[in-house]
Every structure is written in C-alpha cells, then in structure tokens.
Amino acid sequence: MIPFNARSTFLMAPALAWLTALMVVPCALILALGFFRRGVYGGIEYTFTLENFALLGDPLYAGIFLTSARIAGTATLIAVVIGYAAAYAIAAAPRHRQPTLLFFAVLPFWSNYLIRTYAWIVLLNREGLITQGLRLIGYEGEPPSLLYTEGAVITGLVYNYLPFVILACYAPLSRMNPELAEASRDLGASAFTTFRRVILPMTVPGIAAGAVFVFVLSIGNFITPALLGGGRFQMIGNLVYAQFLTANDWPFGAALSMALIALMMGLLTLQAFVAERAGGRGPSDG
C-alpha cells in the first residue's frame, strides 16, 4: 500500500501539471509582458517600464473599467433576482420533477455561446422577429430600436449566465431542511420574515457564488458587447482584445488583463470569505 501522502501527490500530479503549464506559466508571461514597452512597429521592446500600469489610471481607460463594472453589476443584479426565484421554485417542486426542471435550466449550455448570442440579434434587430410580431398584431409605427443598446448587452449577459445563478442557488435551497421554515412559522414569523431571517441567510453562499460568477464572466466579456452592442459599448474585454488584435500593443493589453485578473481574484476571495462566514454561523445544511 502506498502511503497516503505519496498517493495523493501521485493523484494530484496531472492536475497540477495541467494548471502549471496552462494557467500559471501563461499568466506569469502575461504579467511579465506588462512591464515592457511596445516597439514602434508593434513588437515588444525589452526595456523595463511601469507606464502600462500607469496608463490604467488614464480617465479614458478608468472610465471603461467603470462602464464595464456598471454593465456587469446590472446584469448580476438582474440575474440574481431571476435566478434565485427560479431556483426557489425548482427546489419547491416535487422531488421527482426537479432533475427535469434543472435540465431545462442548463439546456442553453448545449449550444454554442456565439449562436445563442446571434439568436438575440435575430430577435431584437429593427427588422427582426419582435418587430415582425408587432406588425402582425397591427403595429405600424417606427420599429423599436432594441439592438445595439446597453439594454441589449445586459439582456445577452443575463441570458447567458443565468443558469450559473440557478445552479448555485439551487444547491443550498434544495439541501435546506423544510422543518426550519416550519419551526419559524410555528413560532409566529410571517412568510416574509421566515424568508428574510431563515431561508435567505442560509442561501447567501449560493447567491454570492452565483453573483461572483456572473459578474466575473460579464466584466471580462467581449463577444456580447461587440455583437449585441454593435461596438457602441467598449468593455474591458473589448479593450484587451483591441490591444492584442488590432492596436498590437501587447504590453498594455497585458497590463489591462492583469488588472482584470486582480479584480476577479479580489471578488473570488470576498466570495470565499462570505461563504465561510455564513457557513460558520450555524447549522445551514439542516
């Protein structure tokens, strides 16, 4: 019998090698790139500089960070409200129906992200299905401008990331002991108080996990603002994309990526903290 430590090292090795080769090394390379200068012709000039990181404070780029945070924040809020309600409904459904309902919730993941996003273009464009539907019921005015708006970008983000919130909130909701809610009501709490004081606190870790997922994926997204925003909205993801693929300013693109990764790591740490605090508060798993 192999001793426990040796065996776990052996079992961990492939995953660790994978992470090191495909995560740690590339990230370290990107970080290093951020400290060099862009050559006149787009190459990299190997002179140490902090100017790429200093540029992050430029009002233009700082403003793009804020816009991205606003769009991602709005999408997160909407996704959490809709997703929590859906997860609650699924958890409250008869046990044998729940797998089917969850299956429908994650069904969109079976198709490609780009195709799902294109479907929204088909729906929302000025000559799209919504306009045609309106005309069918007798509407004759100017078609509504739904596509290429901030609303369209937020809709796309919410739609694509909603299943994460549903899954994250469903887990604690389904594990919750129904007797706790009963006890709360027996002790005289209203349904709302029971939800606010008993159910909600126990599901905070799920909400936090879902929210961080949506926010992190949204703030770095570049496909949705490009397609549903028609390029009219510049998010950090688009800016990073532009530095690497059109401006050929890899060092600045690297600095932007690092700032984004730092932001995401901060949020994930916060989420872990929330989860731990909520977990340590009392018997949450019934």
Binding site: V40, G63, G231, R232, A242, N248
Partner: protein, 350 residues
C-alpha cells in the same frame, strides 16, 4: 476587405483551430492568407503544377499574422498576404526578401499603375494582389437625395439617423473622419486626430452600429440604409438587391492594396517566387476578381472578366488611373498608438 474585418466565419474557424493554426507544420512552402481570399484549391494546384510541397495556413487579420511574424522573425512562413502598410512595417523590420523580378516573369501582367504604388515603387518588396477603396454603400430606394459626401454618413439627414453603420477598424473609421474634413488618411498631427475623434463621437449619435462584417446584410434587410463599406463587400449586397449602390464620396477616399511578400527567413525563396508567379497568372488571378468581387491589379485578368460583371458591380469598372487618384493608406508609425486610443475613446463614449 475581407481581412481587417474579422469575418464571423474566420472567427469561428479561428476559434476552432486556434491551437492547430498557430504554428505551421513542416511542409516545405508555407503560405498564409486570409481565409477565403484565394481559390480554395490554389495551393494544391500550385503544388501539383510546380512539384513544390506547399501548405496553406490562414490568418483572420493583418494584426494576427504580424504578431506571429514579429515574434518568430518571420521563420516558418514563406509567402504572406498582408495589406500594404503592414508590408511596409515588415520591410522596416528587415524581415522581407527583395522581390527578384527575374523569378516572377508574370509581374508583366500588372497594370503599370500597380508597379508604381507609393508604398513600393518598382515592387521591390511587395507584389499587389488586390486593391480597392472605401465609400458609401446605400439603398438607393430608401435614401434620397443619394449620398455623395462623407458628411452624409457622419452628419446624416433626419430620415437616415439610426440607420447608418461605420467600419470599426482603426484606420478606416478614422479615415472617414479625416476625409470629411479634407485631411490626409495618413494624418499624424495629434490636434487633427483629436478633432476627428470629437467629430466621430458626435457621429455616434446618429449611427446604428460599428460593423466590419455584416453591413451588407443590414442593408439587404433594411435595418440600415447607408453604410461605410469596402467596395468589394458592398457588392455582396448588390448581388442580393440591385437597389443597393456604391459611391466614392466627392471628397475622395483611400486606396488600399493587399500584397504578397516573401519572408527573408524563408528556406525556399525560389518556391516562394514561383507561387507569386503562379497567382499572377491571368487565369489564377482572375479567380479573385470573379469570386471575391474585388479588383485585382492584373491587366489580362481584369480584361478577361465579362462585361456583365462591370455592369452589375460598378466598382469593378473603376480604372487603375481612377484608383490612383485616391490616397493610399500608408504605415503611420508611432501614430498608430494615437489612432488606437482615439478609436477606444470613440467606442467608449456614451
């Protein structure tokens, strides 16, 4: 132009083959071109005809292939298709092999104008493959009076507001602004760049979207009525709806030239010249004009096109002399950073 604009198709193909396309394999001759920019069997036919082993790889944008060429010093590639400003950069980085006219006899097929292009008179380091311009592509049945100025695009009449798209790529987006003001498309003066930035931010209020890839389908559906377009891509709209027309604005426009270059690091330069010579053959070069609907700078190839073609697609009837009156896009050196920043500011403005 099929390239700077990443087509969705290329994007999907690129995403699927990202790992595979990154490094060319061991085949002797490696040719990199935009996806769909030459006959799908061109490389295979060349290989059969010449006996050279050849492989084709694709790039989605100039910038993508530039990144690879600069990183590898050009190693791993033999013939590369890039737009002329990028060919200039490669030449400045000393990565290009001078073109040996003795090994490319079909250079004689080029129009005289194509051998005296401002970026490379005498074709010393690049051979033009396709050329054209940018202008207004519109629904003549929905836009009246018919647009003729860059200002019709940037500051449109009420009826066109919200039904306009602009190219989102740095050089062309700013070119629309420069040309509207009568400036050079290669302007490097910061004050003028700032002025055009402000003007384009203003123009954003009356536009529908930035679009480099699907503008012609927006015209066909009627979602847009007036778009900023490359001449050849406007043709894709004309094919579907003859009411779509293309016009070069009265202020003039840019001349873009896509070229073929040979890398200095090539291990088979003779083979590379043979390939360029193969493409310059009138029959092979005509394929691009017939199928991609862009003009090629090849006299016998253009003369072989049917009269019907230049009647249907007016850009195909533009003469080289007319094209050369337009200002060629040149490398702007360090000003490209200012361009990139201006474009970010335009796109981020609310």
């Amino acid at each position: 132009m099929s390239h700077l604009a990443f087509r969705l198709r290329s994007l999907l193909a690129g995403a699927a083959t990202l790992g595979l396309a990154a490094g060319p394999a061991t085949a002797e001759l490696v040719i990199s071109n935009w996806d769909g920019y030459m006959a799908p069997d061109a490389v295979a036919n060349f290989a059969t005809e010449s006996g050279e082993a050849a492989e084709m790889v694709v790039h989605a944008t100039n910038e993508e292939i530039m990144g690879k060429l600069i990183a590898s010093g050009g190693a791993g590639y033999d013939v590369v298709f890039v737009s002329s400003p990028f060919a200039e950069v490669l030449r400045n980085l000393n990565l290009l092999e001078p073109i040996d006219p003795a090994k490319v006899p079909n250079l004689a097929n080029l129009y005289p104008e194509a051998t005296e292009l401002p970026h490379d008179p005498g074709n010393t380091f690049s051979v033009p493959y396709a050329w054209g311009t940018t202008g207004l592509c519109y629904r003549s049945d929905l836009v009246s009076p018919e647009p003729q100025s860059w200002n019709d695009l940037l500051h449109p009449a009420e009826a066109q507001a919200g039904k306009i798209t602009l190219l989102g790529t740095d050089r062309w987006l700013l070119a629309a602004g420069f040309l509207a003001k009568g400036y050079s498309v290669n302007e490097t003066n910061q004050a003028k760049i700032d002025e055009v930035e402000a003007d384009l931010i203003e123009a954003k209020k009356t536009m529908l979207a930035f679009d480099d890839t699907t503008f012609y389908s927006k015209l066909v559906s009627g979602e847009a009525t007036l778009v900023h377009a490359w001449d050849g891509w406007c043709n894709y709209g004309i094919t579907e709806n003859p009411a779509i027309k293309f016009a070069v604005p009265t202020e003039g426009s840019d001349l873009w030239v896509d070229t073929m270059v040979v890398m200095k690091a090539s291990q088979n330069k003779d083979g590379a010249f043979k390939f360029i010579n193969y493409i310059l053959d009138a029959k092979n070069h005509a394929w691009a004009a017939e199928n991609i609907l862009y003009k090629v700078p090849n006299k016998p190839a253009m003369e072989s096109l049917s009269a019907e073609m230049s009647a249907t697609y007016p850009n195909m009837a533009m003469t080289p002399a007319e094209l050369l009156k337009l200002e060629q896009l040149r490398d702007v050196g360090d000003a490209s950073r200012a361009y990139a920043k201006a474009v970010s500011a335009i796109k981020a403005a609310q």
